[in-house]
Each structure stands twice: as structure tokens, then as C-alpha cells.
């Protein structure tokens, strides 16, 4: 079950980074970056 949840978090992280990369408004890029940080820490099982 844990592996499935890590895969879900990884997919969400990938979509968030893709959204950040294609977004033209820098403020929305910052919002996406703030969402990405906890996702990255969870995918790496740090927090």
C-alpha cells in the first residue's frame, strides 16, 4: 500500500513540476513550487 501512495505522490509531483514549467505567470509558478516541496520530501520519504 505504501508503494502505491508513493507512486501517487510521485505522479502528483511530476504534474506539479510540469505545470510550473509551462505556466507563464511567475506568481503561479511560485505557488506550484510551494506545493512541490512537501511532495518531494514525501516521495523521498524524508517527511
Amino acid at each position: 500500500m505504501t508503494v502505491v501512495y508513493i507512486a501517487i505522490a510521485a505522479a502528483l509531483l511530476a504534474l506539479t513540476v510540469w505545470n510550473l514549467w509551462t505556466e507563464r505567470d511567475w506568481r503561479k509558478q511560485c505557488t506550484a513550487a510551494m506545493v512541490a516541496v512537501p511532495l518531494l520530501l514525501r516521495v523521498l520519504m524524508i517527511k
Binding site: V17, E23, R24
Partner: protein, 381 residues
């Protein structure tokens, strides 16, 4: 040529990665276990996985310090750190390891019962990651301030509803990581259930006579400065409370509820032959009414909002400008353990546990915890 929004995206990503690296370093540093310096009374240091190999190599495995007396007698297990955000419990257990000596019987001490809970702390609580005591030689000893529950990195995801395995009781999903809702545990359960199972195996394997689970509660919680006892442990607990009252240490005695399942005093008393009790001291850094939650609040126990609550009659313990210092709470736990050991020998000397070297309530309240801790060994020594 690179587009402008891609340049800003790259810059934002770099800042996010830097922030993640700083956070990761902080979170990873929290995983280092606290130093415990075994005293002259410790005869053996074992791991919980010695009794339940299913914990070997997991973040749930934890040290079990054995203090065996020269003469046979009764046995007691002391659990600290069931909830790593209740510091008096694991600081008291650490002092037992460092200072206690046993003349008769055996004392088993687990300072970090939920070792995984020490590797993180609770989000949105604003709690410090640790607190320190200054020792007489000028050095300091630092203890982790952890979480009430197992680290979600070690046990994830939580279910929507936690169903206690042996009773079917339903609780909030995050209680699945609460060691004191997991007893008697399951051999093939979650990490938290396996830790509970390991502790139950230790009790059965060693024939532990008395099990003490050290906790703290917020000042506005009714069961505070209290001893909760399984019905079989009630005569022993009654003698202990009377002895504490004679020393001027107020302690209420509460029966273990039969319909609240998964707790140590209920399940270990039902599932094993041990006499199970739980102590609660008053922890202002844990309550909902507290103000700024920093190291000073953890150690000194002073809080202006609890003062106001006390004036309004909303607390279950006396609370004045002096607060409820951690030293006093640790002293309360240690005095209760010493009195419990004394009471074990009242009916039969063969079942007694003779303890010495345990700091008394008055001396630890006056001199502080640091006076009774051993200096940490230097790195590499």
C-alpha cells in the same frame, strides 16, 4: 533562445530545491537517537527485537535496559516515550537507566518505547525539536521532543478509521500510529502494532510482575497527576498512592476503563499476567490552551494562558506563576516508581524490588534534572 517564463520557472525550481534541501537536513537530523549513558546498575542492554525478531532492523526496534539485582525478587518494566511529546516520561526512564541500582529483583527500562515517534514532531503544533539540561560539569544533554505517534514515513498511509484489531473498536484514522491504542499488538500488523506486540512478548517472556507506562497530560485534562490501574493492579496501586500521599505528593487513582481499548493498562493487564499501571503528570506544553510553545515552556512549564485558565477554575491541577517544571514532573514519576517498587515487597519479600540511587522528588525539584544526568561521552570515545 530560452523563453522568459522558462527562465523564471528554472529560478523558482532552484529556490524550491534549496528550500527542500534545508528542510530535509533538518528533518533528517531529528532522526538521531538521544544519548543514554547506562549507569553502574545496568547489567545488560538488549533490543526489543530479542523478544520479537519481527522488529529487527525496523525503526520500531528499541533499547531495553536490564538492571538485575544480586538477589532474586520481583520484576518491573518501565516504559518511557510511548508518546514522545510527553517528555517527563522518557526523561524519568533515562534517569532510571543512568542512576538506579537494583539490590533485589529485576528492573527493565525502555526509554523510547515508540522509537519512530522520536524521529519527527507533530505538524502545526509549533513545538521545539528538542530541549536541553545543563549538567554540573558545564556540559549539556539534549533530548528530542517528538510526536505522539509513529512517523508517517515509517507507517503510511493512515486509514480513514482505525479499527483496534482484537476488540473492533473504531477510532480516528491517525490513532493507527498511536502505540497506546495498539496493545496487545499484532505479529503481522502495522509497525505500531508490531512494537506493541514486541512489548507484550517481552512481558510474557520475562514474566514481568508489574508494568508501568509513563505519560503526561495537559492541565485541562481530567486524568492528570493520576495513576490509572488495571483492576488486578488496584491493590498495589492503592498502596502506592497512599505512600505518595504520605510523602505529600498528591496523586489520584483511576480505574482502567473496560470499554476503552488498546491502552497499555487495559490490554497488557488482560492479555498477560502483569499488573499494568499508567502514570500521568501535568504537561503545559501539550495542552490546547497554551501560548508560545518553546523549549522554555517544555522545561520550565510556565504559561500565562494556563495561569488565566487556573484563575477561571478550568484546570484539574494547581497552576501558579511557578508553573509545573519538567524537573517536578520527572520527580513525580520517579517517586511513583520508587513507591510502587516498595509496595511490591509489602506482601511478600520474594516479590519485592529493591531500588536505590533513584533521585527523590524533593531533590530533583530543587536541583533540577541536569544534576542527575551523566555527561555524554565525547564523539569517538
Amino acid at each position: 533562445m530560452i523563453e522568459r517564463h522558462h527562465a523564471s520557472a528554472a529560478a523558482v525550481c532552484a529556490v524550491a530545491l534549496a528550500a527542500a534541501a534545508v528542510a530535509a537536513a533538518s528533518f533528517t537530523a531529528h532522526r538521531a537517537p538521544d544519548v543514554v549513558v547506562p549507569g553502574s546498575g545496568v547489567t545488560e542492554v538488549r533490543m526489543l527485537s530479542d523478544w520479537f525478531p519481527g522488529l529487527d532492523g525496523t525503526p520500531g526496534d528499541t533499547e531495553v535496559y536490564v538492571l538485575r539485582g544480586a538477589e532474586p525478587g520481583g520484576s518491573m518494566l518501565v516504559l518511557g516515550g510511548t508518546h514522545p511529546n510527553e517528555p517527563a516520561g522518557y526523561v524519568a526512564a533515562t534517569l532510571l537507566v543512568e542512576d538506579a541500582r537494583v539490590g533485589r529483583g529485576v528492573l527493565y527500562v525502555v526509554p523510547r518505547a515508540n522509537a519512530s515517534g522520536f524521529t519527527h514532531n507533530d505538524p502545526q503544533e509549533g513545538a521545539p525539536t528538542g530541549f536541553s539540561f545543563r549538567l554540573p560539569d558545564g556540559s549539556t544533554r539534549t533530548f528530542t521532543y517528538g510526536s505522539r505517534a509513529t512517523n508517517p514515513v515509517h507507517q503510511w498511509p493512515d486509514p480513514e478509521v482505525y479499527i483496534h484489531a482484537s476488540s473492533g473498536q473504531s477510532l480516528s484514522g491517525n490513532e493507527t500510529r498511536n502505540l497506546n491504542r495498539a496493545y496487545p499488538g499484532r505479529e503481522d500488523g502495522t509497525l505500531t502494532e508490531r512494537v506493541a506486540y514486541g512489548i507484550a512478548r517481552l512481558i510474557v517472556g520475562e514474566g514481568i510482575d508489574v508494568t508501568v507506562d509513563l505519560h503526561e497530560a495537559s492541565p485541562e485534562y481530567p486524568v492528570v497527576d493520576a495513576m490509572v490501574a488495571h483492576e488486578r493492579a488496584m491493590p498495589l496501586a492503592s498502596n502506592t498512592v497512599l505512600g505518595l500521599e504520605l510523602q505529600g505528593i498528591g496523586m489520584s487513582l483511576e480505574p482502567s476503563p473496560k470499554n476503552l481499548r488498546g491502552l497499555s493498562h487495559r490490554e497488557l493487564g488482560d492479555a498477560t499476567d502483569t499488573l499494568a499501571v499508567l502514570f500521568e503528570s501535568c504537561n503545559p506544553s501539550q495542552g490546547r490552551l497554551r501560548g508560545r510553545t518553546d523549549e522554555a515552556l517544555v522545561v520550565e512549564g510556565k504559561d500565562p494562558y494556563y495561569l488565566r485558565a487556573a484563575a477561571l477554575g478550568r484546570l484539574y491541577v494547581p497552576f501558579d506563576e511557578g508553573g509545573v517544571p519538567l524537573a517536578e514532573r520527572v520527580g513525580r514519576h520517579l517517586a511513583s516508581i520508587a513507591e510502587l517498587a516498595f509496595s511490591m515487597g509489602m506482601e511478600s519479600e520474594d516479590e519485592g524490588l529493591e531500588l536505590s540511587g533513584v533521585p527523590g522528588y524533593d531533590e530533583i525539584s530543587e536541583l533540577g534534572v541536569g544534576a542527575f544526568l551523566s555527561p555524554a561521552p565525547e564523539a569517538g570515545s
